[in-house]
Point group: C2
């Protein structure tokens, strides 16, 4: 049986009593999703909303022409597929497991009760949505004003910050991520990303390999991202 300890301590559930946590978890189903599998796909009727307990989820949009754009990565502890909170009845994008994942799912119909009975949880969800709106706007500004090199540097720094694991070589992005993935986050091509990483590697800013990126000189990469030129 599911236990409140699964979610106690997550910032998303801050301010909730132990009893509320227990009651909330009791309403959830947990599911395991294998690497590469989809939790839901764009346009699908939103039957559930989710919290990622463990793993990493890639949220992807596909254009009519078949090109993909990565909207964001979800890390553990974050909610996703929260269409109900904004009155949608379908999911707006695909959610794909970047690694094996553990997920809690609540039925959409439960959202109303969440708002009434667990207002601090609901409020945290709204805050999350607000943060994502902010984030999206930031990305628009970035795409409109910065060059590819800066955007790629920035994307890698953000990934390292949110999903980084310290190793003896630097900060490793702790799920498999390809050049293609980075290009789909930054609106460029895998070729350009590959060239950039090669050149950064030769300058000692990063160490990278197949589906693997380690940031060794965050300071200098940050300067590229920020657009500052030298020093």
């Amino acid at each position: 049986m599911l236990d409140a300890s699964l979610i106690a301590g997550l910032p998303l559930f801050a301010g909730m009593s132990r009893e509320d946590l227990t009651a909330l978890v009791a309403k959830a189903n947990s599911l395991r999703v294998e690497k590469g599998a989809r939790v839901f796909h764009a346009g699908e009727e939103a039957r559930s909303f989710f919290v990622l307990l463990d793993g990493h989820i890639r949220v992807v949009r596909t254009t009519p022409a078949g090109e993909q754009v990565i909207a964001r990565y979800i890390s553990s502890g974050e909610p996703f597929g929260i269409a109900q909170a904004i009155d949608r009845d379908t999911y707006p994008a695909d959610a794909v497991a970047a690694v094996d994942c553990v997920i809690l799912a609540w039925p959409s119909s439960f959202w109303k009760q969440v708002v009434e009975r667990y207002p601090s949880f609901a409020s945290n969800i709204y805050r999350t949505i607000g943060a994502r709106l902010q984030d999206a706007q930031d990305r628009i500004v970035e795409m409109a004003t910065e060059r590819v090199e800066q955007r790629v540097a920035n994307a890698i720094m953000k990934l390292a910050g949110q999903n980084g694991r310290k190793t003896d070589e630097g900060i490793l992005i702790d799920f498999p991520i390809s050049r293609q993935d980075i290009s789909e986050m930054t609106g460029t091509t895998l070729h350009t990303v590959s060239r950039l990483l090669s050149s950064w590697e030769s300058e000692g800013l990063v160490k990278s390999g197949r589906q693997k990126i380690t940031v060794t000189e965050g300071r200098r990469l940050m300067m590229i991202a920020g657009g500052t030129s030298g020093g």
Copy 2:
């Protein structure tokens, strides 16, 4: 004194009783803002949230380098500056009146009561935020995958759809908008926008002048926006 009829009939307030509307309006201040004046600016403490009763508001972000990016245009009947709803205590962008505007403002502290007493209003606000998140994501995809010509065509079509006024020549965007404005919406330069409009004008798709754009052939412009090639 302010009157419920100011807001009755706006979709944003759908589902509210006449008494609730009256009570809600009683809590608001109305203000007039002259063309070019700012309602609030980025980073400012969010003391109020707003509904635009009449006019057009431009929501603008400025980069550290001083470049501007237009996040969106607010048309009458829409809420804006709703930082509280997403637990922010500062405004994320500038709001500038594109024409003389009439605005209702409620103190931020009133938001909690809104959520409790007027849930359908609050819910409509959340729906708005959701729509804007969706919109922002769409724009990211657009910026990542489409070329300037398509983006500009799309921006103009959206403006015409949301703020268009039918004239005998076609659909006129009914507030002053410069080439520069369009470029700040699409992540290009005023020069490129000017060139595009010139060429579209010579092909009979639009009629444009100083701070003025009329779409005469929406169908064909839509095709450019959609990326479809021929007739």
